[in-house]
Amino acid sequence: MIITRSRDYKTILNDIGKFRNVILIGCGRCATSCRTGGIEQIEVMRQKLIHSGKKIIYSNVIEAPCDERLVRAELRKISFTSDDVILSMTCGSGTSVLSDLSSVPVISALDTMFLGAIKRIGVYEERCTMCGDCVLDRTMGICPVTRCSKGLLNGPCGGSCNGKCEVDQERDCAWNLIYENLKKFDRLDLLEDYFQPKNFSRIIRPQKITDKDGYKGKT
């Protein structure tokens, strides 16, 4: 799940600036699940913008605004003028796709935070950094790249204390979690392995993957 957070309304309004007409586009998947770009949030935004003197000429939640095929079909339904702007209530990927295909400017209503888990309604935790070089098989499914504040691969730093992280005493030390999990499954031997420095050439940005050619990064 891509976790997003609503940007400050004043900032959004400032970004809309001189444009009179606003087209609101939400996301039926991630942003709906974390309640930042679903039907309800679009409606709240619509009311606020009307109150601020803007005209909402179109609004809809696209099932997956990161899918160009769906976005292209959606944008065909709208006849744009030079007074229009699209306010994207989707993650950065959705906003980019909208921007690639739209003939009018696109403004983002959300900040894209991380790839994470929904713990319960309103509580999200980061779980994956998308580093392209997974180590979860060696750490019993707990990612040190993501859940250690420093992304350390060979054990905790000196700031780990009573199972908590030096950055925030409320935050678990990833290496302590890994240790406890490995101990539970009698696999502490895995901790003795040396982890090589990460190979960042695997994720030279922007990345592209095609079914036909396979992965394009260097390995």
Binding site: L152, P156, C157, G159, S160, C161, E166, Y179, L191, Q196
Partner: protein
């Protein structure tokens, strides 16, 4: 004789910590080290300690070296990627720095530039491996250097880790990848220290125990409550609280701690957190 030779010959060494200035005037730090020259074997030069930006560890280490003092250049993983670290290490070697203390480094969020991007391209074990590679005449990626370095590699360990198993696993990795001496987290609990050192005796490591005199009740409470990984027994705090001269009491506490742990270490490392007077006095008393 440098600290590598002294440790090899089982000579007890004393090192002190020198913090580079937040500015360009290095004279004060250099003069202070010169005053301690006869008593201290080497000087640890910190690398943006506690994530507070200061003059580089490399620059002050070289300045000390040029005045005939022996620096231990601290290198953290927080601010530089593998290219920058190796490049600085080659520079350090070319300018006469022989000892490196490899650390992870604190997270920038606790420092004076909390907005900074934390680098941590390498971790401390990988940093030690990197320095070992340079010592074999190769870059971390395996390319040949025109000449090998010959760094004496140090690392840190915490005898009071809340997870000693994990601490031992990591320090074994550090040792296997080339760390030859270990500086410890500051010791206030000699019994706890000795218990831990006995557990790792079979690893035959050169251990320099950290000490830091407490100078006020405020400082004692700050250390015991705010610094993760330091174990301060209640008795230390109480002694300081009831003392009419906390500065003197703190110094005596450290001397007593050193006396107790001396058979279980190869040297001590004195951290003063800004108070030069107490370092002088401790060195005189040792």
């Amino acid at each position: 004789m440098d600290i590598r030779e002294k440790l090899d010959k089982d000579k007890f060494i004393v090192t002190c910590e020198i913090t580079p200035p937040k500015g360009t005037d290095i004279l004060h730090a250099v003069k202070f080290a010169e005053k301690l020259k006869l008593k201290a074997d080497a000087f640890n030069v910190t690398d943006n300690q506690r994530s507070v930006m200061r003059l580089s560890s490399l620059a002050l280490s070289v300045a000390l070296k040029q005045r005939g003092l022996e620096p231990i250049m601290q290198v953290t993983c927080r601010d530089r990627n593998r290219l920058a670290i190796q490049s600085d290490l080659l520079g350090a070697k070319a300018l006469g720095v022989a000892n490196i203390l490899a650390l992870t480094g604190d997270h920038p969020s606790s420092g004076d530039h909390p907005q900074a991007k934390p680098v941590f391209d390498l971790d401390s074990v990988q940093l030690i491996e990197t320095i070992s590679m340079l010592n074999t005449g190769h870059t971390l990626s395996g390319y040949k250097l025109s000449a090998p370095t010959n760094f004496f590699i140090g690392a840190v360990l915490n005898p009071f880790s809340s997870n000693p198993d994990l601490e031992i696993i990591k320090l074994k990795k550090k040792s296997e990848h080339g760390a030859l001496f270990f500086q410890t987290q500051v010791v206030y609990d000699p019994a706890g220290y000795i218990e831990f050192i006995k557990k790792i005796k079979h690893l035959n490591l050169k251990i320099i125990a950290g000490v830091m005199p407490v100078r006020s009740i405020k400082m004692a409470e700050f250390i015991s409550k705010k610094i993760p990984g330091i174990k301060m027994p209640e008795s230390i705090i109480e002694e300081i609280r009831s003392s009419s001269d906390p500065h003197e009491t703190g110094k005596k506490q450290v001397l007593k701690i050193i006396e107790k742990i001396r058979p279980y270490c190869d040297g001590v490392h004195i951290i003063s957190s800004g108070c030069e007077k107490v370092i002088m006095e401790l060195l005189e008393a040792l």
